[in-house]
């Protein structure tokens, strides 16, 4: 970081000087700044939508050491936005694909890959020695885990988050600045906020937000400019507007306040209200309010006529559907539930089972007694029953 003296900083060879010449001729960066970038290290949590553009620009800029934590495999549905990966990479691990691209982009950069799920057990070990953590994950337990580990270890967090057409960015956990918990002391209950997999995301959006995270990382490494500390940037791609909100350090913050109550990493799934993982592959853990695709198929084949309620959006319904299902998007259900038959069993269904569980809960509150949720949604239906339909 900015504490290194000139003599401690690594030197640049002739090839590097040529490569970074557009940095070197700017006095704000210059030779010292570029050497600070080379000495710097950034750990990207996730090599997906946000991590892809961020890691590419960090590598191009000459950040000396880039770490990536991920264990996912490249899928066709990633290619619309995750530029680190190409069509040829489908089926490879994201880490392998990422390392390959980053090495090709800049062989002077050391790429470290960690094929593990970030957890309370390994976060401190993985973060150790990095100057900046770049949080590009997609779920609340990991967001809080990254935040708390950053605060406890004194490492700044270049934060970015995306949903549909909207992105958020900030820098958390600097010495005197606010942290993620100052902004959001508590996570939303599971299911209330839809995921990108369910809500969708405009492919270029993570490009904008990931590059903002990379920009902030480079500013932190070089010590130039005004970092996005104490400010929360909201980007609206549809209206092409940036708004900035003030963030304050909460003196009562449980992790970075004056009397912290969180002094070590906790169980973040529990904190976020998520039950321990079940073995979904076995398909044996269906509870009484769920029905599996295979069971539903049996019912239909036996001549039963459950009312299949698809609660996705019309554009999703165009891609694939269960024959005979009726579409009422979740958001319209509160004013349209009277259209549903009271004398038939209802099976709620969405893409993966999240929204339909909410629909099921809602229908029970308005007096429908016999409502089952299709486990795994249309995706599992296609996997187990009707592979002729496309998935998304």
């Amino acid at each position: 970081m900015t504490t290194a003296t000139d003599v401690d900083l690594p030197t640049l060879n002739a090839e590097e000087i040529k490569r970074y010449s557009r940095h070197l001729i700017m006095p704000e960066v210059g030779m010292d700044g570029q050497r600070r970038i080379k000495q710097g290290s950034v750990l990207c949590i996730g090599a997906g939508g946000l991590g892809s553009p961020a890691a590419m620009y960090l590598a191009a800029a000459g950040v000396g050491r880039i770490g990536i934590v991920d264990f996912d495999v490249v899928d066709y549905s990633n290619l619309q936005r995750q530029l680190l990966h190409t069509t040829n990479d489908v089926g490879r691990t994201k880490l392998e694909s990422a390392k390959n691209k980053l090495n090709a982009l800049n062989p002077h950069v050391q790429v470290e890959t960690f094929e593990e799920a970030l957890s309370s057990d390994n976060a401190m070990r993985l973060f150790k020695g990095y100057d900046v953590i770049l949080d590009g994950t997609d779920n609340f337990p990991t967001r809080y885990l990254v935040n708390d580990a950053c605060v406890l270890m004194g490492i700044p967090n270049a934060y970015g988050s995306i949903f549909r057409f909207e992105g958020q960015a900030s820098v958390f956990a600097t010495k005197d600045g606010p942290c993620y918990r100052c902004l959001y002391p508590e996570p939303p209950p599971p299911g209330l906020v839809p995921s990108c997999a369910e809500g969708g995301v405009l492919g270029v959006l993570p490009g904008v937000i990931g590059v903002i995270q990379a920009t902030e990382s480079i500013k932190l490494l070089t010590g130039i400019g005004q970092p996005l500390i104490g400010r929360f940037l909201i980007y609206d791609a549809l209206n092409m507007k940036f708004r900035e909100l003030k963030l304050r350090k909460d003196l009562d913050c449980p992790v970075c306040g004056t009397h912290p109550t969180v002094t070590k990493l906790i169980d973040y799934d529990q904190f976020c209200g998520i039950a321990p993982a079940q073995d979904h592959s076995a398909g044996a853990t269906v509870n009484a309010t769920e029905i599996t695709p295979v069971e539903l198929k049996k019912k239909l084949d036996a001549g039963e006529t459950p009312f299949i309620l698809d609660v996705r959006e019309p554009n999703e319904y165009q891609i694939n559907k269960i024959a005979g299902s009726t579409l009422i998007p979740l958001g319209e259900l509160p004013r349209r539930y009277q259209e549903l038959p009271r004398d038939r069993q209802i099976v709620t269904q969405c893409k993966m089972g999240g929204r339909s569980a909410k629909a099921q809960d809602f229908l029970k509150t308005v007096g429908f007694a016999d409502v089952l949720n299709l486990k795994g949604g249309i995706l599992e239906w296609i996997d187990k029953v009707d592979p002729s339909q496309p998935k998304y």
């Binding site: 991920d70 988050s161 902004l183 996570p187 939303p188 906020v193 993570p206 993966m352 999240g354 929204r355």
Partner: protein
Amino acid sequence: MPNTIHIPTPLRPFTDKKESVEVSGATVGELLKDLTTRHDGLKKHLYTDEGRLRNFVNVYLNDEDIRYLQKEQTPVKPGDSLSIVPSVAGGAVSPKPQAKAEGGLS
């Protein structure tokens, strides 16, 4: 003169897809009440069953967090705008496979 409330993307399904809603009232609380009267489906997303603003929903008057003003009692002037800023987690595919199984969070 009415005030504007900016509706974030995740909550637009409850405002007929509108990105901002014109409301009137003398305080932040009154503006929010007017909003949830016009769009009833928002209520459970913004308030607990006890009628308190939910902890993961932040409300800003212009660019200032109302928690550092007078919360819902904060007076508003004509032309002031409110923003609702809920937490959003989207990014890479999860480095936590077990969370993915939840569907609602992955």
